[in-house]
């Protein structure tokens, strides 16, 4: 090593020592995680009950702004589709806006927007969710609208055809604009080889094109019934009054036939799955990488969340710091934890400039996971991840809509709602040892799926 280089290195080290000393003086150690918990004054009051027709109702009062969110979730997600029915759940979601006995096509949207409200709907693997946030003095309007489509949505051959064409057209347009999107649904079918849980919302569109009016009607009759739904109201309400309104609009809706729970996910993978898709349009090169976490053991869900933050959340998260800032082998890395019923998956998506860099990035990800397996997570790393998680948690729950989503998620996964206000504490109790145990247990070849993108 040249003298000059040695001198430079020493100077850098000295500068670093000075900077670290200054840093330590300015920022003495932050309190340990055990002392941090839910902020004072933060509460999530919840009441829940069932109507005679089986509709589950969740109420949560918050009068800080004159707003209310009304959300109705049906256990009618893609997991309910039979083989050959890809796209049926999504099609039903859009048909719910095409009018009911007392509300014309798209009038639901008009009623809500005219008073300044906002609304939307979404379909996931386990549910179709319809939600609106509006001035709280209009609570009855939202209940009237939701109850009308629950009891009497109008589905005709013409409306099915119209919505199907629109969805397929938009889907094809989106795929043409962003071809990489297609790789995400292909990766899901690998990650969840159990067809029920890996089914895409539309897929190629071929199966949606073949759906018959009878398929649509049968799906609607079976799943869009009060005994298969949860109604959640969050906002500036008086519980007694809200209960009266719920009873008025929903109680007389007849229940449907009993709805069996969907089959639990089954995975029978022997070893690591590694796939190469040269025909997938990626801007350059990259990969999808995922680990399936199933079955979960007690505490795994909390540890996984904290692991997600350590690896992927924030500018200083390990994978970003390693791949983008240190090794400079990738220009994009993202991902997160996904929940599909009893199964969870940690998914990572990475884009690089070429194939060599993609392979290097893949190896770097694996070495970061290995480091956690070896117990490299320090108390500081852990506390940082937990604080970051806590900030995100509070930011998300600042809106009534997000609180409604959280309550519905808990309801769908059969977690007791009364435990939610204390749930944050469970995340904050995760230890470094929990993370190591989690990685040893689940981050093994038989749970790994790797799909490389770009040129061979």
């Amino acid at each position: 090593m040249s003298v000059f280089r040695t001198l430079k290195t020493r100077m850098r080290k000295e500068a670093l020592v000075v900077a670290v000393a200054a840093f330590a003086a300015l920022f003495p150690a932050l309190p340990a995680g055990g002392q941090e918990s839910m902020a004072p004054g933060w509460a999530l009051p919840v009441q829940e009950y069932r109507l005679k027709n089986g509709l589950r109702v969740i109420l949560s009062e918050d009068d800080s702004l004159p707003l209310v969110t009304v959300a109705v979730a049906y256990r009618a997600g893609t997991v309910r589709e039979k083989p050959g029915q890809e796209g049926l759940a999504y099609l039903l979601e859009t048909l719910m806006f095409q009018g009911s006995e007392n509300v014309g096509p798209l009038q639901h949207v008009g009623y809500i927007q005219k008073i300044g409200g906002e609304l939307n709907a979404t379909t996931t693997f386990d549910k179709s969710l319809f939600y609106q946030t509006l001035p709280s003095n209009q609570l009855a309007l939202a209940l009237w609208l939701e109850s009308d489509r629950m009891r009497s949505v109008r589905i005709t051959g013409a409306s099915i055809e119209q919505q199907r064409s629109r969805l397929l057209e938009e889907h094809l347009r989106q795929m043409a604009a962003e071809p990489i999107i297609g790789s995400f649904s292909i990766f899901d079918t690998l990650l969840y080889p159990d067809l029920l849980y890996g089914r895409p919302l539309i897929g190629s569109g071929e199966q949606m094109g073949r759906l018959t009016d009878a398929d649509v009607s049968a799906f609607h009759r079976a799943f869009y019934v009060p005994n298969n739904a949860v109604l959640c109201i969050v906002g500036s309400i008086q519980a007694a009054k809200a209960k009266d309104l719920v009873a008025r609009y929903f109680e007389s809706i007849p229940p449907g036939p009993d709805v069996p729970a969907p089959l639990p996910p089954r995975f029978e993978q022997e070893g690591e799955v590694a796939v190469f898709h040269p025909d997938l349009a990626a801007p350059t090169a990259g990969f999808h990488l995922g680990y399936r976490i199933h079955p979960l053991q007690p505490g795994d869900a909390y540890a996984l969340k904290i692991l997600e933050y350590i690896l992927l959340k924030g500018k200083t998260a390990r994978l970003r710091a390693r791949l983008i800032d240190k090794d400079r082998t990738a220009y994009h890395v993202s991902g997160g934890l996904e929940e599909r019923g009893a199964a969870r998956a940690l998914k990572i998506f990475c884009l690089t400039n070429n194939v060599v860099m993609a392979d290097r990035s893949h190896r770097a990800v694996m070495s970061e996971i290995e480091r956690i397996r070896q117990g490299s997570v320090s108390e500081d790393d852990l506390e940082k991840a937990k604080r970051f998680f806590r900030t995100d948690y509070f930011r998300r729950l600042a809106t009534r809509q997000e609180r409604a989503f959280m309550l519905l998620e808990a309801s769908f996964s059969d977690r007791p709602l009364s435990s939610l206000p204390n749930e944050l504490d469970s995340y904050l109790r995760v230890t470094a040892r929990n993370l190591t145990a989690l990685v040893i247990r689940h981050f093994v070849p038989r749970n790994k799926v790797y799909m490389r993108l770009g040129p061979r």
Partner: protein, 486 residues
């Protein structure tokens, strides 16, 4: 009567009861389901008054109390935005803001990132036309440390050439990437033409402009504008105003004031002639149409009537533009109108995504809708619906932490009076037909500037019905002016 069916009296009574909705069967619906239920009395917004004071060095502090989340938002606002970049250095404001947090006298950029994330805080820097916002969202127990981080980042930055090169590369990449979005291309071109010769044009710079910016220019911009007497700190959250103000004093009282004045820039004149501009964009699937003009600043008396007018015109899917261009004529996938307000003026625009063969009739309908609102009174029911939307939607805008902080930052940065905060609902409610018509006459009468983004091959057929079309390349340079025979 012979042959007529006769029913016993009890059956008639039962049938009447049935018709009135008392029937036990669910085959016939309950009567109350037939029509939407009436609204109850509207609740007030219940916003706490903003508390403001000025420190000895001229730094203003505003505390906005809000509940609903324990997080505290700290915003340091500098009274300099894109428009304050020197005319020969557009983008200087943005590059300077991006350099903040990338190194200070004591800490490297990486250490600053570590510091912020060790607090669990979220940091962002956003540059608007007239001001720049440095924002930290933080857990309540770390407010003091977050203020310290903000102080180190903003008051003691270091602008190294090496870091600057990285920041410029990232900015240029983002600018290039944004050009893939035809909506962004159209919006930027509209502003470029409306602000021709005006300082606000600096806010529409492209990736080429930032090549000229060096660390000397960044330092110069920083020294000129980053002063306590040109800044405001806005704290929002469930905080004690006195306590947080004391902490701000501890961290920022040593920031030295210097003589500084910021001239009020006069607004540019509105476009007044028919002008069709076409921007080529090879990747376009559909045409994006913008039609807009310069309007009033947010302190003007026509501000609230114009908001109502805009809502009726194109604020939502039940507004005139959407109902006409999409639902009635089938020309557009969507058609809305929006307005944005700066320190010296505002801008409004109609935005529509249109099938290429309908470009000409769609522009015709947009212009017709604008003219209609400048010549004729809108029906009272339409005005009341627009007001109901604005009043009902306001709490939604303020509900998220982001929405609340954006709103309070805008008030503080533009020095808007309390009419935009604690009297806002009243200011909307007093708008009437006459005020809306007056705003329409004044601001919708001048011909709008029309910008169309699409593929070059559409010029020959889809644009042939326009008399004159200015054609620009994707970077916004004028290529040719086409005169069509009509």
């Amino acid at each position: 009567m012979r042959g007529a069916l006769r029913f016993p009296r009890w059956a008639v009574v039962l049938a009447a009861a049935w018709a009135l909705g008392f029937g036990p069967s669910l085959e016939a619906q309950e009567r109350y389901r037939r029509t939407p239920p009436p609204a109850e009395t509207r609740q007030g917004l219940g916003l706490a008054a903003l508390e403001s004071f000025e420190m000895a060095n001229g730094l203003k502090v505003t505390v906005a109390f809000r509940t609903g989340s324990p997080l505290v938002t700290l915003q340091l606002i500098i009274g300099a935005g894109e428009a304050d970049s020197p005319a020969e250095l557009p983008g200087a404001a943005s590059i300077t803001a991006r350099m903040i947090g990338r190194g200070s006298k004591l800490l490297s950029g990486g250490q600053i990132d570590d510091l912020i994330e060790s607090l669990g805080a979220d940091y962002s820097a956003t540059v608007f036309m007239d001001y720049t916002v440095f924002k930290l969202e933080v857990l309540p127990e770390f407010v003091d440390r977050a203020l310290l981080a903000l102080r180190l980042m903003v008051l003691e930055p270091v602008f190294s050439e090496r870091v600057l090169a990285t920041v410029k590369r990232a900015t240029a990449f983002e600018q290039t990437d944004r050009k893939k979005d035809p909506e962004f291309v159209g919006w930027r071109h509209l502003l470029r033409l409306l602000f021709e010769g005006h300082p606000y044009r600096a806010g529409t710079y492209g990736e080429e402009a930032i090549k000229l910016i060096g660390s000397k220019e960044v330092q110069s911009f920083y020294s000129r504008h980053y002063l306590p007497n040109n800044a405001v700190i806005v704290v929002s959250g469930n905080v004690d105003a006195a306590a947080v103000s004391t902490k701000i004093g501890e961290h920022f009282s040593a920031w030295t004031r210097r003589a500084f004045s910021r001239a009020q820039v006069p607004p540019p004149p509105p476009n007044g002639r028919e002008r069709i501009c076409f921007v080529e964009n090879a990747g376009s699937q559909d045409a994006i149409i913008f039609a807009g003009n310069v309007i009033m600043d947010p302190a003007a008396p026509e501000y609230f009537p114009f908001l109502v007018l805009n809502q009726a015109l194109g604020g939502a899917t039940h507004s005139r533009l959407f109902m006409n261009l999409r639902e009635s004529k089938g020309y557009a996938y969507y058609a809305f109108s929006e307005a944005e307000f700066y320190r010296s003026c505002g801008v409004f625009w109609v935005k529509a995504r249109v099938t290429p063969e309908f470009i000409h009739p769609a522009v015709g309908e947009i212009v017709r809708e604008l003219k209609a609102l400048s010549l004729e009174s809108a029906p009272a029911v339409e005005i009341e619906e627009a007001k109901a939307y604005l009043v009902g939607n306001l709490p939604l805008k303020l509900e998220s932490l982001e929405g609340f902080s954006e709103w309070t930052a805008r008030l503080a940065a533009l020095g808007l009076d309390s009419g935009h905060w604690n009297r806002i609902l009243e200011n909307i409610m007093v708008v009437n037909i006459e005020k809306v018509l007056a705003a329409g006459r004044k601001y919708l009468s001048p011909a709008p500037l029309v910008v169309i983004v699409g593929r070059r091959e559409w010029i020959l057929d889809s644009l042939a019905d326009f008399r004159v079309v200015e054609v620009y390349d994707s970077n916004g340079a004028l290529k040719q002016t086409i005169l069509n025979r009509r």
